[in-house]
């Protein structure tokens, strides 16, 4: 009995440590401009960060903890707290995940392989470029995790062909897998539907800055960054892995022999793609009036009515922990705003900037990108955006900067810090194949982050302020 309990205490030690820390912060006397409620929110934020990093409990449990503490610490009435959990963004995240399952269930992976065969022939450089671009373009709409699931078998077949041609080659073969992981991760900011983190930022802009950005406007702002990053990713990979001029000989015949002949698009495939196109068009056209979430649900409804998705698939294959967790961290972000905790943090940050004599120029942008990247690397991008979003938007108010630009810096920075297998869903899925070493993520991620840092700074200095004037 005791042994069992002691084991549980040890196994979940970070939960107890986080609880203790939250209680200490909560019971500290309030000081300065930070209200007692603001201090309580920061206590919950500290606890959430520890729980997200060390995962002593399952994801939805973190949400329960946040909900219970928000009520116990007196941030609002139970009804207010529960209401703060539900928003259009949460429905949008859940709907996008369900749509992604519908796409994964089709036989798109085999078609992708045949498409790459036809497109690239036996050139290894063209194949890597093809995998990066194809993965990226799909992930920019469908969500990186579903694209990683679709493209992982394609990459593993490429690894097999490479090994048959060139044997064990000091790890060059893993370039195909890494292309999928980073291609998907890099493109996951292209549209709001590409990742849950994007929906969080949309919610914050709307709620905290009064900035109502639609699906199409997001694409106008963010997609150029993806289009610049994808070729850069290819160059980074080619430089690190140096596959040389070696070819993937007998690529087409191998694929036909091992995978079978190319099948035509089935009715279900056409219906699924058609529904996806309709949903994206609706997101671009009517989401400002009816919201992103309801449009996603229309797509899900169409999938279920046409039989390309059934409810069993939805219950089994959607990671419900994600919308539940994001519902709670969005709630926490909103309480950070309303209790003044975000403003207090922004003031502190501004004071530090003044002390360092950093104004509005390049050093300021550089610093924000760096903070976003570091937080994203530690917490993973979603929670990083959820917790830093209100602070960045208050920072924009305090410094007179454009909230759109600062929000985009946060989204891009937090999403481009993929140093570990757990930094993004795509990286985790590819790591799960067991064919990519942990240190490869650091090797590629660090170089890509350095390139991304420069690209984001350029976008934040020139492109985003330019488009912000027109939105």
């Amino acid at each position: 009995m005791f042994k069992y309990l002691l084991y549980q205490i040890e196994y979940r030690r970070w939960f107890f440590f986080a609880t203790l820390l939250a209680l200490i912060i909560h019971f500290l006397p309030a000081s300065g401009s930070l209200s007692a409620q603001g201090k309580s929110v920061l206590a919950i934020v500290a606890m959430t960060m520890i729980l997200v990093i060390f995962e002593p409990v399952a994801l939805p449990v973190i949400s329960f903890v946040i909900l219970v503490l928000e009520i116990l610490f007196g941030l609002g009435s139970p009804a207010q707290v529960v209401q703060s959990f539900m928003s259009d963004s949460v429905v949008f995240i859940a709907g996008s995940l369900m749509l992604a399952v519908a796409m994964v269930k089709q036989q798109l992976d085999k078609r992708m392989l045949f498409f790459i065969v036809r497109l690239t022939g036996s050139s290894v450089h063209l194949t890597i470029f093809g995998v990066v671009v194809l993965t990226g373009l799909m992930a920019s709409v469908m969500g990186e995790h579903s694209v990683a699931a679709i493209m992982l078998p394609v990459a593993m077949i490429l690894v097999r062909i490479w090994r048959e041609n060139h044997g064990e080659d000091g790890g060059v073969h893993s370039v195909f897998l890494v292309s999928v992981a980073f291609g998907a991760a890099v493109a996951a900011i292209g549209t709001p539907s590409a990742g849950a983190r994007n929906a969080i930022m949309l919610k914050y802009w709307d709620q905290l800055s009064g900035l109502q950005l639609g699906y199409l406007e997001w694409v106008v702002v963010m997609y150029p960054l993806v289009l610049v990053q994808l070729p850069l990713l290819y160059l980074v990979l080619a430089r690190i892995y140096q596959p040389g001029s070696a070819g993937l000989f007998n690529f087409a015949s191998f694929v036909r022999r091992e995978v079978g002949e190319r099948r035509r698009f089935s009715v279900e495939d056409w219906i699924t793609v058609g529904i996806m196109v309709i949903t994206v068009v609706l997101w671009m056209t009517v989401s400002k009036s009816i919201g992103l979430g309801p449009v996603a649900l229309i797509g899900v409804l169409l999938c279920i009515l046409t039989g390309v998705l059934n409810w069993e698939d939805v219950t089994q294959d959607v990671n419900w922990g994600v919308p539940i967790l994001y519902a709670s961290v969005i709630s926490l972000g909103l309480w950070m705003d309303s209790t003044g905790a975000a403003a207090w943090l922004a003031e502190g940050f501004q004071a530090a900037l003044n002390w360092l004599e950093i104004g509005q120029g390049l050093p300021f942008i550089f610093l924000l990108v760096l903070i976003s990247m570091l937080t994203g690397a530690i917490l993973s991008s979603g929670p990083a955006i959820a917790l830093l979003g209100p602070v960045f938007l208050h920072q924009a108010q305090a410094s007179g900067a454009n909230p759109l630009v600062l929000g985009m810096i946060l989204v891009a920075g937090a999403s481009y810090a993929n140093f570990t297998p757990v930094s993004s869903p795509a990286c985790t899925i590819v790591y799960g194949s067991g064919m990519v070493r942990r240190d490869e993520y650091f090797r590629v991620g660090l170089r890509l982050a350095a390139v991304s840092l420069v690209v984001i700074v350029v976008f934040a200095r020139f492109y985003w302020p330019f488009v912000a004037r027109w939105l």
Binding site: Y11, E55, L59, P153, N319, G382, I429, G434
Partner: protein, 294 residues
């Protein structure tokens, strides 16, 4: 007898597996090899499972399948698997069991059951789940180095006897260093050690440690009783009676060829939680393989 050998993907796991297989060959025991795959972050576990399911439609081998093949190859090299027409005698090929557990079932050369199982997650928790489902005699785990929390958790929180493998050698080249005291747990260790030494043909170095001069007679009589037992079964042995701190003395007496055998601590779980125990300290600080009999 049923042994559970727990491995990860590292080099020391290969050595642990070789030692475990060697033991099973001699003891003709049933063997389950548990490969614990590192857990995917909870954030993306559903997505990772979905991707793995997708891979099953493709002519590519998953990490689990590759690991199972590697383990099977090592067992075949050790002459542990029954071969029929040059192929291993398989009861069932790798298949997914309940709760994400994958299993492959083979027949051993002595007719025993050989299972290769794959789980995902924390190694200690996986062992606990496994030992709750099946009644194992001994759990064999490799220890990566000094001061490992893993060693403490395994010794403290698993129910069957535990063999912590460090710097492994061929089974037949070991000598047993049997550490005894008057405790009931030590007597259980003595019983287990005598039976094992008999089966493996292993010489025994008996070590009785006392902390104070007035305990010397007790230690001497304990050594004499055990000597008689070892002599009765014709097990080659030496006797050492030493005075000093228990952990330090055991570590000082242990030679590279020694397999240290000792009973579990009789202190309460809470005491061990805060202050540790002799087996844990030997497992953490020593360079020898340690068998903790429970």
């Amino acid at each position: 007898m049923h042994l559970l050998v727990c491995i990860g993907g590292e080099q020391y796991s290969r050595d642990t597996l070789r030692l475990g297989s060697g033991l099973v060959r001699v003891l003709k025991a049933d063997l389950t090899i548990l490969y614990v795959r590192p857990a995917v972050s909870q954030h993306f576990r559903t997505e990772a499972r979905l991707a793995r399911e997708k891979l099953q439609d493709w002519p590519v081998e998953s990490e689990d399948a590759l690991m199972m093949k590697a383990v099977q190859r090592i067992m075949e090299e050790q002459g542990l698997v029954r071969m029929v027409d040059g192929k291993p005698d398989v009861q069932h090929l790798p298949r997914v069991e309940k709760a994400g557990l994958a299993e492959c079932h083979l027949y051993g050369s002595a007719g025993q059951d050989l299972r290769i199982r794959v789980r995902e997650g924390d190694i200690v928790q996986s062992i606990r789940r496994e030992t709750l489902e099946v009644d194992y005699t001994l759990v064999v785990v490799g220890a990566p180095g000094h001061g490992s929390r893993l060693v403490r958790h395994i010794i403290q929180y698993t129910d069957p006897s535990v063999l912590i493998v460090k710097n492994p050698r061929d089974v037949q080249s070991y000598r047993m260093l049997l550490c005894l005291s008057h405790s009931a747990a030590a007597l259980k260790a003595q019983d287990f050690a005598v039976r094992t030494a008999l089966l493996l043909g292993m010489p025994v170095d008996l070590l009785c440690i006392h902390s104070y001069p007035w305990e010397e007679n007790g230690a001497m009589s304990l050594a004499e009783d055990t000597r008689r037992l070892l002599k009765r079964f014709d097990i080659p042995h030496t006797i050492r009676v030493r005075r000093g701190a228990v952990v330090r003395t055991i570590l000082k007496e242990a030679q590279p060829e020694h397999l240290i055998v000792m009973g579990t601590s009789e202190r309460s779980s809470i005491y061990q939680f805060f202050f540790g125990s002799v087996p844990v300290e030997i497992g953490r600080r020593g360079k020898n393989t340690v068998l903790v009999v429970k």
